[in-house]
């Protein structure tokens, strides 16, 4: 298999400067603006940088090809009234392909006039994000692919039992494609060859409205394809697996044999696991490697698609990707944004009723992991299913405000314009607004614009680091492969005692208890993972790390750098000694054994301060502190002892508080996620004035105010 070594970012560098690249590629495209008129678009923590100005992403999805073109102006008008500044649309391969190698971009079917759509968007002052696939989902029967590609047996992914993996949609079934199959990419290349000349001249730096390109969607996470022993066992996936093992084991099969307790003659003969049969921790490396490979092949696919576009002239705009809301794929956001030619990975998902804690976690995860915390495919109505709940305006506001208060800065409302197999959007297919919902979106978008929300930063001093290696342990034990007869994954899951000092279950409970206690006290935090680099970590004064008995060697470096920069790293319940190959590793052992054994911190804060100060620093040269805490309660006491900032606290623990700051301006968010009105004292130092922005009532107070919040409501006050 031909393996390209150059990634998208490197490709751009090789083009000797963006301006030269623009003129070179732009000359190939009809309708290009003058090269060098605008600078390439970049992503920053507040949004998209357009010629030195921040453009926060307040986007709504609108699928041009699903609406007759005479309706487009009316639909844009409504989106403008709504307060959006960006539209996002998919450009499905399967919609534009007429037959193999032949495409219709509007010559025959006017609703497919992509260029006319982009021109109109630009004239109406909208920026555009294009979703080029190949998978765009969109509740399409074939998820955006041409049927002929999906039904090509050579391209179909293979399951652990040798079959194709079938996906069911509202219109029928299709085999999932293998993203490791070369033929898929050669088919996709034909589409990109036809598509890129249509869009290249509409990129922002060439004078057009396109500020971002989103590729694929939830790669590797097709429903039912997320289980470790489901897909992909395609022959070319296994070739990649063997190549990956060879790289991980530096080409030494003897090393792999020693770790696996096996006797393979070559890497090409290594059998991938097809179900979990491990009994002791020594049995885990083949499963951990298989799981790591499954994650890696996602970034490999994305990198490849991104590169294909760059090679055809799509440069100078950020490349985006969306992942599902489950926590697991989010752990890899730093890897994807760092290595896969993806500039921004957003979290998809339509929050449902009663999803407050899930939504809070997803938003904190975006805040902790991503360069620009973004929710894509977020909450603009619902896909057609029997679990639809018919969102009312107030529910909707609560859901969106929950995401914003916990760290989300950019949003794509999916779908802003209603379409086939989708309901409850603020704008109907014929352009009529759904008044109640429309008003709610308008109100929120007005709030974002008027306070200049993008300029604010959430004030979280703590990052909770999920341990990617440990997460793989939870994942690799899942035997579930299929949900089509509603057999739950957990049926074949058992708690196995692998002989660890700190079992997976102990770690899971520790994390849960620490989170609950932190909530109880009222700390705000973001979620990160052990894949974060030290630059991201350094934004936080304190990091709490879930640790078991083993740790991936390559993940130590960022922690070391964090400590060198003066960070405080508290870990528990385990004290790792093993590496990912389940070998006692001096490097791992030395790092974690350098921790202060803070088994006890005095309960009283005043007494706690000196106790914390007296804790030993981490590795000898590090100015930071590395502290082992077995007990969740002690973690909380220690956080208090380190005086983690809580500018506001509350008497009623049913309410959640977060604080955003921009220079001297301060926004206080208060959420009531219960079904009853909640009253609470809010404590703060000194005298403050609270001006209501979203919510009810202005307050003045010295040291304390009392407020009441309706059920399922997020209130926002500007505090001065």
């Amino acid at each position: 298999m031909k393996e390209h070594r150059i990634n998208r970012k490197e490709f751009i560098r090789h083009l000797a400067g963006a301006a030269a690249a623009c003129s070179q590629v732009g000359a190939l495209s009809a309708g290009c603006g003058r090269a060098g008129e605008r600078r390439p678009v970049a992503v920053c923590g507040s949004g998209f940088m357009l010629d030195g100005k921040v453009h926060p992403l307040y986007s709504g999805s609108f699928h041009y090809w699903r609406h007759e073109s005479p309706l487009w102006p009316k639909l844009f008008f409504q989106l403008s009234r709504l307060g959006l500044n960006t539209v996002c649309t998919s450009v499905p391969w399967g919609v534009h392909e007429v037959s193999k190698g032949k495409y219709d971009f509007g010559r025959h079917d006017k609703s497919k006039r992509l260029e006319a759509f982009l021109d109109l968007a630009g004239r109406r002052a909208f920026r555009v994000i294009l979703r080029l696939g190949p998978q765009v989902d969109g509740q399409l029967t074939y998820a955006g692919f041409p049927a002929r590609v999906l039904f090509d047996p050579e391209i179909a992914a293979r399951t652990s039992v040798g079959t194709m993996e079938i996906r069911h949609t509202a219109g029928g079934q299709f085999p999932l494609p293998s993203y490791c199959c070369e033929k898929l990419y050669s088919e996709l290349a034909m589409y990109f060859d036809a598509l890129v000349p249509v869009i290249a001249g509409h990129l922002y730096h060439r004078g057009g409205p396109v500020i971002g390109i989103q590729i694929d969607n939830e790669t590797g996470c097709f429903p039912r394809a997320g289980s470790p022993y489901g897909v992909d066992y395609h022959p070319q996936a296994l070739e990649l697996y063997h190549a990956r093992l060879k790289e991980r084991y530096a080409g030494e099969i003897s090393r792999l044999n020693r770790v696996y307790g096996a006797n393979y003659q070559s890497f090409e003969l290594v059998e991938p696991p097809r179900r979990f049969l491990g009994e002791t921790f020594a049995n885990l490396p083949p499963y951990l490697d298989w799981t790591e490979f499954s994650e890696w092949r996602k970034t490999w696919s994305l990198s490849r698609i991104s590169r294909m576009l760059a090679e055809r002239g799509i440069i100078g705009v950020p490349v985006l990707h969306g992942i599902p809301r489950d926590c697991r794929p989010a752990l890899a956001i730093p890897d994807t944004e760092r290595a896969a030619g993806i500039d921004l990975e957003g979290i998809n998902g339509c929050p449902g009723q009663g999803d407050y804690s899930l939504e809070r976690r997803a938003s904190r995860t975006a805040a902790g992991m991503s360069v620009y915390p973004c929710r894509l495919e977020f909450g603009g109505g619902e896909p057609l299913s029997i679990s639809c709940c018919g969102v009312a305006g107030e529910d909707l506001e609560f859901r969106i405000m929950t995401a914003l208060m916990h760290g989300v800065k950019g949003i794509d409302f999916y779908m802003a314009v209603e379409r086939d197999r989708w309901l409850g959007s603020p704008v109907r297919r014929d352009g009529r607004p759904r008044e109640e919902l429309f008003d709610s979106y308008q109100r929120i978008l007005r709030f974002l614009r008027e306070v200049r929300f993008h300029e604010f930063e959430k004030q979280a001093e703590i990052i909770f680091l999920r341990n990617h290696g440990l997460d793989r342990l939870f994942y690799l034990m899942e035997q579930g492969k299929s949900r089509s007869l509603s057999i739950p994954d957990e049926v074949f899951g058992e708690a196995v005692d692998f002989g660890f000092h700190s079992s997976g279950e102990t770690c899971r409970i520790w994390m849960q208890q620490v989170s609950e206690l932190m909530l109880d006290v009222g700390f705000d935090w973001d979620y990160g993972s052990t894949r974060l680099d030290s630059g991201r970590l350094s934004h936080y004064r304190t990091a709490v790390l879930l640790a078991g008995d083993y740790f991936y060697l390559e993940e130590l470096e960022a922690l070391r750098a964090y400590l060198s920069g003066g960070g405080i790293l508290i870990f528990g319940p385990g004290r790792p000694r093993l590496n990912q190959w389940m070998e006692i590793d001096r490097e791992v052992e030395n790092f974690f054994s350098g921790a202060a054994a803070a088994e006890y911190v005095p309960e009283d804060d005043q007494a706690g301060r000196p106790a914390a100060d007296s804790l030993a620093p981490g590795e000898a040269s590090s100015p930071g502190r590395l502290i082992h805490m077995q007990s969740p309660i002690e973690v909380i006491r220690l956080l208090k002892a380190f005086e983690v900032s809580m500018p506001f606290s509350r008497s009623n623990k049913s309410l959640d508080l977060t604080v955003y700051r921009c220079d001297r301006r301060c926004l206080l968010f208060v959420a009531n996620s219960t079904d009853k009105a909640q009253k609470s004292d809010i404590f703060f130092p000194g005298g403050r004035r609270f001006r209501s922005i979203m919510g009810s009532g202005n307050f003045d107070g010295k040291g304390k105010i009392t407020l009441e919040l309706e059920p399922y409501r997020v209130g926002v006050w500007e505090v001065s």
Binding site: P153, T159, A170, L384, L423, Q479, S484, L485
Partner: protein, 278 residues
């Protein structure tokens, strides 16, 4: 029965949520029990995903054990699955039959269920066997209704009322015996906004819908109560009058309708399109 390019448009979200909440009962009321065994010894039992003590310690024949467990729960279960890991892999393979490029959705599901049932033996079984029936009208009855009575372009209308308020509304457009579009009354905006629960209301709906989607082959206006009685998870024979004694309903069918079967199928169609309940 269902077009692969089925379109579902202009459903009012609140109306759809009401319809969905009634439909959800078809699959949601009765829990599913799964028993995992290895070499005949039970290892784990889950009731709707929640672990519980195993009810049977030995599984000598999964088919008998599945039946026995189902009976023990006195019909309170939707389904019992008894399997070991090898059996599970076989079920998994059977569920992943290769579909043909233009294969109709329910045709595929029928093949898939048949393949699943063919795997049942002493190690793996599901009881009752998975089948395609859903809603008030059996799958085969629904299929023959569409194939035999609706070969040409036409449409079917269902509206449910809570008093005089529209509870939910669904229109199916049928072409070549396949449903290719489902819409709600919202599609027609003001023209159907105030439609009443009456014979006149039914006529109005037929006129308005018929102008866009052609011949109206069947139309049913039901009270919410009767609708819920029909969508109770059981199969029914007819509607209204016999299956729903004492109800008030308005119906129209221009097809032969022995014992209200065409009206039943008009009502039951929407459990198959757009809803699919596993």
């Amino acid at each position: 029965m269902i077009s692969r390019e089925l379109r579902v448009i202009d459903l009012d979200p609140v109306q759809w949520a009401r319809f969905a909440s009634v439909c959800a009962r078809l699959s949601g009321v009765s829990p599913q029990l799964v028993l995992w065994h290895e070499e005949s010894l039970s290892r784990r039992q889950l009731l709707d995903g929640r672990s519980e003590p195993v009810s049977i310690f030995r599984v000598d024949d999964a088919r008998l054990s599945a039946r026995e467990l189902y009976d023990r729960y006195h019909g309170k279960l939707r389904r019992v699955v008894v399997s070991d890991l090898d059996g599970y892999d076989r079920l998994y393979a059977a569920q992943n039959l290769k579909p043909e490029p233009n294969e109709e959705k329910y045709h595929y599901l029928a093949r898939m269920y048949q393949a699943v049932c063919a795997e049942f033996d002493r190690n793996v079984a599901i009881y009752p066997e998975p089948c395609l029936d859903r809603g008030p009208a059996a799958y085969l009855r629904m299929r023959s209704f569409l194939q035999e009575l609706l070969p040409g372009p036409c449409c079917l209308i269902l509206a449910v009322f809570d008093g005089q308020d529209l509870f939910c509304s669904l229109v199916a457009r049928v072409s070549g015996s396949e449903v290719d579009l489902v819409a709600g009354f919202d599609h027609w905006g003001d023209a159907l906004a105030g439609v009443s629960f009456s014979g006149t209301g039914l006529e109005t709906a037929m006129q308005v819908v018929g102008r866009d989607y052609g011949e109206v082959a069947g139309a049913v206006f039901l009270s919410r109560r009767d609708f819920e009685l029909l969508y109770d998870g059981e199969l029914h024979d007819s509607l209204p009058g016999s299956a729903v004694p004492g109800s008030t309903a308005y119906g129209f069918s221009n097809r032969p309708d022995p014992a209200g079967q065409a009206l039943l199928c008009t009502t039951g169609l929407f459990a198959y399109a757009p809803v699919v309940i596993p």
